[in-house]
């Protein structure tokens, strides 16, 4: 059997095709590692916790609860959403939390693996893929809870509910792609993660998360261009059985994310040695 030859030198191969091929083959060979890392983190997370999976949805639940409370008590006047407000608010905050978690996932996974990154050479893609596994696991719990909400508030079953997990996957893809481009810089400067936290906090208010898009005005324009809008609106429309308004924007977004995801993966892949050097120096 011919021995595998590895060459390490300063120059990078920047042929995209070759890099994507290497990246994909590493994803394939490290499939067990990715799964194992995800299983490890999920197990560890729940074993050392009394409330367990409760923590997966506590954040969106409290945010939704605050808005439901403000609305029900008449503290604020929100435009009618067309569906029971708790379902509207919870589906919004829940999907928002999935997107936020996806954006942060590559950075937090890479940070958590700092120790082994500077000691052992393993396919780095496994960190990204294990992050996606963890996102899918956490999202599945949230989806179950949302479905409970849907039936509890009498929204009822619509066949479009079957499409809803697909939009969740779209949201995870979108978030992870952004996360991949941010991670290399975010690993160097921790300003980045702070900016992201604040930025997403603000962005939530120009996205129809807990209130509907106004009929006119500057807010409508911002929301219409905001790429987070189609993700939220389409998902919610699938849940409530409404006619999806933004489905073409949604499809364009997801289709654009697929090549960008691979580009991000390559950027991540070739950046890791530089990050390892700076973090262990």
């Amino acid at each position: 059997m011919a021995l595998e030859v590895k060459i390490y030198q300063k120059e990078n191969n920047i042929k995209i095709g070759r890099l994507i091929k290497d990246s994909l083959s590493d994803i394939y060979t490290s499939r067990f590692l990715a799964k194992q890392l995800a299983v490890r983190d999920i197990k560890a997370q729940y074993r050392q916790s009394f409330l367990g999976v409760f923590w997966a949805f506590i954040t969106p639940l409290t945010t939704a609860f605050v808005w439901i409370f403000l609305n029900e008590t008449g503290t604020i006047q929100l435009t009618d959403t067309g569906v029971p407000y708790p379902v509207y608010a919870f589906s919004g905050t829940l999907l928002w939390s999935i997107i936020v978690e996806s954006i942060n996932s590559p950075t937090s996974n890479t940070n958590a693996a700092k120790g082994i990154l500077s000691k052992i050479n393993f396919p780095k893609e496994a960190l990204v893929i294990s992050g996606i596994y963890k996102l899918l696991f956490n999202s599945a719990i949230k989806i179950v809870l949302l479905v409970v909400f849907v039936f509890f508030y009498g929204v009822g079953f619509h066949t479009s509910l079957f499409l809803f997990p697909l939009t969740i996957i779209g949201a995870i893809l979108f978030g992870t792609t952004i996360g991949l481009f941010i991670t290399p810089i975010g690993m160097l400067y921790n300003d980045i993660s702070k900016i992201i936290t604040i930025g997403l906090g603000l962005l939530m208010y120009v996205t129809p998360v807990v209130y509907v898009m106004p009929k006119e005005g500057i807010m409508r324009t911002i929301m219409q261009y905001n790429p987070f809008t189609p993700l939220l609106v389409t998902t919610r429309d699938f849940v409530t059985g409404a006619t999806p308004e933004y489905v073409s924007y949604f499809l364009i977004l997801v289709l654009a994310c697929i090549p960008l995801f691979f580009l991000g993966l390559i950027f991540y892949r070739i950046s890791i040695p530089i990050l390892v050097e700076r973090m262990s120096a």
Partner: protein, 400 residues
């Protein structure tokens, strides 16, 4: 087919620079990220606040060979290992590695403290590149090798550091690498375990090219077939003469100052020397088989009885290797004017080639109460053509 003379590791003109300042380092990191995307083809020169951590290293390593990397702390050994392992990229030069690379740099990578030992075997195994089936097949063997079957279902956070290392090594020992990179990881286990580790390494050595970093020179001389002595990132000595490299390493730490460890004030060592030795500037030398003849001169304020002298020969690692027979109280020691002087001779010294030092303890004759203890009073080097890592080379006669 594995050929014996496969060149598995080839390093050409390898250099790596680091930055001394964190802020600047991060800024350069950002710039490097950008140039990295465009292929990184421009020349790398030292930027402000940078230095060469590794400069112009060249070597080749074949199957069955072991390269020892030695040098003081911060000489660039670990940086070099990281480049060989593909963790960081060189700034100049090229590394070509053929075959599967295994690294014993950190044992137990990927362990999660609250999971059990058994679960962590899978975590660690996955990080090292095993598949689930491979681990399933080997898990019992791993548990037995680590000798922690009783505790295998306990969270590893309750393991001692030694148990952690045992488990980590047991997993790593299942690798069948073509190239093995070993950093100082085996120091934590107990003696039995260290012996076991080296037995494993000895077993895989013939089929592997090993790069071995250690501060333990006996280990280096035992395992390595070639050596690189790194100093400030530069190769100071390189070649197959392992002992020469080790001698140079020790010379860097040669300590020619004696130190008084204990003194009750009753007598003072004023002179000590090696008689009939070859003197060069650095260190006194003695041929193997010569007589070791020492001269000591003490003075004292109050008259004292003749004490006992413990003369200890230490090797370069500060391990006592020999004790010279003590005097008896009737020995022929000249005493006059509050001074005493004597010669001690050991005939035909049979210490093996290397650097040694002499320490002295003076004891009261009647109750062995210590009066004076001085370390490193004399340093000397034994010359012989044979390299050996055992402390003695004993004279023999072979007959039939």
């Amino acid at each position: 087919m594995k050929k014996d003379n496969d060149i598995l590791v080839e390093v050409e003109g390898l250099s790596k620079k680091f930055c001394k300042d964190l802020k600047t380092s991060l800024w350069y990191g950002l710039k490097d990220l950008t140039s990295n995307v465009f292929g990184n083809s421009q020349e790398r020169t030292l930027r402000e606040k940078e230095f060469w951590a590794v400069k112009d290293i060249n070597f080749t390593l074949r199957r069955g060979e072991c390269l020892g990397l030695i040098g003081h702390n911060g000489a660039g050994k670990s940086t070099l290992l990281k480049i060989l392992n593909g963790l960081i990229k060189p700034d100049e030069g090229k590394v070509t590695i053929r075959g599967k690379v295994g690294a014993l740099i950190e044992l137990g990578a990927g362990f999660n403290p609250i999971l059990t030992g058994r679960e962590n075997i899978y975590n660690n195994g996955a990080v090292l590149g095993f598949t689930r089936n491979e681990i399933d097949a080997k898990v019992e063997e791993i548990i037995d090798f680590a000798e922690i079957r009783e505790f295998i279902d306990m969270p590893v956070q309750n393991y001692s550091s030694g148990m952690n290392v045992r488990l980590g090594f047991a997993v790593a020992a299942q690798m069948e690498p073509d190239v093995l990179i070993i950093d100082e990881v085996l120091a934590v286990g107990d003696l039995g375990f260290i012996l076991k580790c080296f037995k494993t390494i000895d077993e895989i050595l013939p089929n592997t090219a090993i790069v071995f970093v250690s501060h333990s020179m006996p280990m280096v001389s035992r395992m390595c077939t070639q050596i690189i002595l790194l100093e400030n990132g530069v190769s100071n000595f390189q070649g197959e003469n392992v002992s020469k490299g080790i001698d140079l390493y020790y010379q860097r730490f040669a300590n020619n100052e004696s130190n008084v460890v204990f003194d009750d004030g009753s007598l003072k060592l004023i002179e000590s020397k090696l008689v009939d030795s070859i003197n060069n500037q650095k260190i006194t030398e003695l041929n193997w088989g010569d007589d070791l003849k020492l001269n000591f001169k003490f003075n004292y304020n109050k008259p004292i009885d003749l004490p006992l002298f413990n003369i200890i020969i230490m090797d370069k690692e500060q391990r006592p290797v020999a004790l010279l027979e003590r005097n008896d109280t009737l020995s022929n020691v000249k005493k006059s004017n509050n001074e005493m002087e004597f010669y001690v001779t050991h005939k035909n010294i049979q210490l093996s080639k290397g650097i040694y030092s002499i320490s002295l303890a003076v004891l009261k004759a009647e109750n062995l109460e210590p009066l004076l203890r001085v370390n490193d009073i004399i340093n000397f080097q034994i010359l012989h053509e044979l390299e050996s890592w055992q402390p003695f080379l004993l004279k023999t006669i072979y007959e039939s």
